[in-house]
Structures are given as C-alpha cells and as structure tokens.
Amino acid sequence: MSAPSLPTSFCGIELAHPIVNGSGTFDAIAAQRAFGDALVEQFPFAAFVSKTVTVAPREGNPPPRLWELPAGLINSIGLPNKGLAGYLTHDLPELARLPVPLIVNVMGFTREEVAQLVTAFAERDEVAALELNVSCPNVETGTIMGSDPTETARLVERVRPLTQKPIVVKLTPNASDPGAVAEAAEAAGADGLSLINTIRGMALDPRTREPWLGAGTGGVSGATVRAVALAQVSDVAQRVSIPLIAMGGVQRGRDADDLLRAGATLVAVGTESFRDPAAGRRVAHELERLRRERTSSGAPTRA
C-alpha cells in the first residue's frame, strides 16, 4: 500500500497527513528493537510525539500499571523517563533519525522546571515543536496547572519567550471548563493546543478489594473516552483560533474525521496503537479513502 497522502500544515510544520501519535503511547526506540527497520520504512505517523520528559529521571509508578475497561484502559504509568540529560544523550539522537518531524513533550513540577526544559530544546534543530504536558499539580499552589486558566496562562507567558519553536499546550480533560483554559493558553502565546489527555479513573482488585493500580488511580483512554474527547475538541475549536491536535479513542478513519470535522488540524492515535502498531497508518489510509469518497460523491467536506 502506498503511503497515505493528505498534506497538512501544523504551526508551520509540513506533514504528509494529519495522523500523529499521542505522547506516551508509542516508543519509537523500543518499537525499532521489536520490528527493526521495517518500522521506519512504513512509519505509522506523520510526526512523532515523544513521551513526556521531565528534568530529573523518573522510574514511574509501581506496577500494576494497567487495568482494562470495556472498550478502554486505565493506566498509571507515572511518566518514567531518563530525565532531560538522559533524553538529550540517548533518545534525541535516535529519534532524530526518524523519517518524520519530532515533537517533544515536556512536563515540569514548577514553572522554572518547564522553563529549563523549554530552554534546553530551544536550540535543538532535531526538534520541530514542543508540547507542554500541564496535567501535573503545581507544587507551589497545589492546583493542577492545566485545570486553571490563570495557572496555565502564567506558565505559557513564562516559557513563550524562551524559544522560537511552536509551543503546543496539552490540556487536561479533568477541568470544569477546558475551553476557558484553552482561551487563556492562546492569549498567553501558545501556538497550538492538544487534547484530550486521559480522564481520571480507578479500579479495585477483584480479590483484595484494594485499588488495583500501584498508584491507586490512573487515566482512562481508548474508545471509551471518544465522545468526551469530541465534545471538548468541538468546544475548544469554537473558542480559539490556534490549531488543535485532537485525540481520545480514535480507532478508525471515521473517528479521526469526526475530530477534524469538529475543528482539529491533526489527530493523534493513542491506545489503538496498543492493539496494532500500524494503527496510525491504517487510520490515515481510512481517512484518505473517506475524503476521496466524499469528494467524488460531491458531499460537502466542511460546512
């Protein structure tokens, strides 16, 4: 099958099609260990979004880290990563060899940590854009940085001057009004937004009756969050004019098409990649086919 072709531009980055991966749902380095060069030759995504990088290395949460849901998953991975220095030394050179642009996702526990991360990547040509994961609590104020418009704005204002690269803010769905946070991020200078991150969820061990996940609670993803994602993307798209990377439960071309229809520019595939590493490419192909059918049947593609 030929490579999907639906040329798309996002924050000035030119992509072959609008399908990328969700941060933390695809490890291109590990996948190369499992699949070899074949992975790179038929890379499933038009850009690669790397797993969240923090300043200090993290082991992640104690296992078990996964709980299967009806049509979904709770994870409590806990952002394991090699830390900024380890990422720059070990991961960045390998990811730079991928055939697609690289978006680096970063998270800090204080604004200054985020600033440090943004500064470190500002001068790296290998990096096309930065995504800020703001789903962690602000250790100073106690609020979740990304659920409060004011906190989000202060963070974006702090880091915006530190790089010329596009800054994408990844919103949390666990907010009373994600649209208000989106507006605040845009006003503070964000170039794009991505949503949705996982929704807080929990499960009990059927035998012990204690929380199953090592960390107690985790984040829900997969088909089960699709309708919530579409509602939030639709709302945010109507309230900002910067481009969106939309995600949440995308399994088929039609799901991606729904999110694009709701106003997104790119669509990320997350959990569905766990069911098939080639899911991103399949979704892009299905989207291409949908577009072709719609164009040839003369139906309107966008109202």
Binding site: G24, T25, F26, D27, I29, A30, A31, R33, A34, F35, G36, A38, L39, Q42, P44, K51, E59, G60, P62, P63, P64, R65, L66, E68, L69, P70, A71, G72, L73, N75, I77, P80, W212, G214, G222, A223, T271, S273, F274, R275, D276, P277, A278, R281
Partner: protein, 280 residues
C-alpha cells in the same frame, strides 16, 4: 515466509510491524488446555520463549463486562511446520475464553514474534545440561525449547494442579509430572523434582516458566545452589512492543519492560519473581 532478522544474540526474531490476520487450522485439547494451530505464512520463525499478542478477529469484546478490548500475550508453544505456530491456552478470563472458543476456520489477529527468548545455544549452555521446568500453562514455551534442544534436553519437569491439567504434559515429550493433589506422578511440587535433579547433577542450566510462586521457588533454589536459571515471566501487557510502559517488573537495576526486555530474564537480575499484578 520472510527472511528472519534476529537480534539480541540470536534471541529475538524481529516481528513485522503490524498485526496480521491468521487462520486457525486446528483446535485440540489436552485436558484443561486448548491448543490452537495457526497458519502464519508471513511470520518469521520465532525463537523459543518469544511470544505473540493475539486477539480473535471477530467479536473480540462483548463478553461479560464488554471485555476483552486489548490483545493478550501468549508464548509461541511450538512451530509444528514452517509457516505455522501453535499456542497452548488456559481459559482464565474473557480474553482466553474467547480465544479458547475459536476453531478451525476462524481467524485471529497476531503480532509476533515479540520479546527476547531463552539463551539456549551451545555457547550459552557452555557444557551445562538444560533442565526445563514448567508449571501449569507455563509449559507452553518449553515445548518449542524442547524441540530446539532436541536430545540435549532431558525430561522436562512439569507441575500441575490436578489430573485434568496434568494432561497438558502430553504436549511435551517424556515429561516428569508432579501434581498438587497427587493424582498423577509425584505428589507435590515440581520444585521437589527439580531438587532431586540438581542433587543428582547440579551442572545444569535451568529454563523455567510458570506461576509466580513457582518461579520464585525456582529462583531461590537455583540462587542457593549457584545454578544459572532463566525465567520466562508474565505481567499484564497492553501492547507487547514497548509502547505503553505498562508491563514493567522490578529488577535489581530498576523496572524493565517485560515485553521488550523479557519475557525471559536471568534469574539473578531479580530480587524476586513474585511480580505484582501477574497470574491468577
């Protein structure tokens, strides 16, 4: 069949980077276990100890509680002929239940072969005799290992709960069996058979797969006697190829992803084989 590329000292055959649809050719039962023989013409030949992520191609999901949603991990149990693969399954939940229902003519989704298999070349063995130790459905990867080792492998030692499970021993050649209830073979634990063997001749290399308490007993036993052991572990997996970071097990050097750094680990990498959230 594609030319197989092998890495990690020959212990990892690379998998094609997408799931493929494969036909079930045959369904057999061995007491409590189901064996599915699957056509896999495009699959490169797996190394013993490697595994596959499987899902029924039709009606995956929809059972009690609308699970399964994700594919499930299964050791490749045997390659009965080139372009084929066998899996040995025990029905313990919605995913294995659905797979155990499959029959000749049905299709499965298959991502395979994954992970690092057993180190069992002559240089790995370095003169030690291979000793295969299995518990329950952990028997599965020992069959393909036995096939590969041929006569070098002595009688595999297999432990089961009871007689219906002990029928699984027939899937291997010449197994010595222990059962918890004494209905078949030795009355007791398979580790008692292992102690017997090591007492007789400790110059061995142990390959073990089974439930966490058994693996932990094997680990402790081999550590105490300085016998090298490789353990094929289990943990809950979502992806099988390193994408989700969900399958980690604690080792002496921190968490490792069992799907890309295992499922076979050297026993001396572990403080304990009792990993959280695995097994039934």
């Amino acid at each position: 069949m594609t030319a197989a590329v092998c890495t990690d000292d020959g212990r990892r055959t690379l998998a094609p980077p997408q799931r493929r649809r494969a036909a079930v050719l045959e369904r057999r039962t061995y007491g409590s276990y189901v064996v599915l023989r699957v056509a896999d013409p495009d699959g490169p030949p797996p190394r013993p100890g490697q595994f596959a992520m499987l899902a029924a191609a039709e009606r995956w999901g929809g059972g009690d509680g609308e699970r399964p949603f994700l594919p499930r991990a299964f050791s490749v149990a045997r390659v009965p002929a080139p372009g084929e693969a066998e899996f040995l399954l025990e029905d313990v939940g919605p995913g294995t239940n659905r797979l155990c229902e499959l029959d000749a003519g049905d299709d499965v989704w298959l991502l395979s072969p994954l992970g690092i298999g057993f180190a069992a070349s002559e240089s790995d063995l370095d003169g030690r005799r291979p000793l295969l130790v299995g518990g329950g459905v952990g028997t599965a990867p020992l069959a393909i290992l036995q096939d590969e080792l041929g006569d070098a492998a002595g009688a595999p030692l297999l432990g089961f709960r009871d007689a219906p499970h002990a029928e699984g021993a027939a899937y291997l050649r010449d197994a010595r069996v222990a059962t918890d209830d004494g209905s078949v073979g030795h009355h007791g634990r398979v580790t008692e058979l292992l102690v017997e063997e090591l007492d007789r001749d400790a110059h061995a290399q142990v390959y073990a797969c089974g439930p966490p308490p058994m693996l932990e007993a094997v680990r402790a036993l081999c550590a105490a006697r300085g016998v090298p052991a490789q353990l094929a572990l289990e943990s809950g997996m979502a992806c099988g190829f390193g994408a989700c970071f969900g399958c980690v097990v604690p080792t002496k050097t921190g968490y490792v992803r069992l799907c890309v750094d295992g499922p076979v680990l050297d026993a001396d990498q572990l403080e304990t084989a009792l990993v959280p959230g695995a097994g039934h």
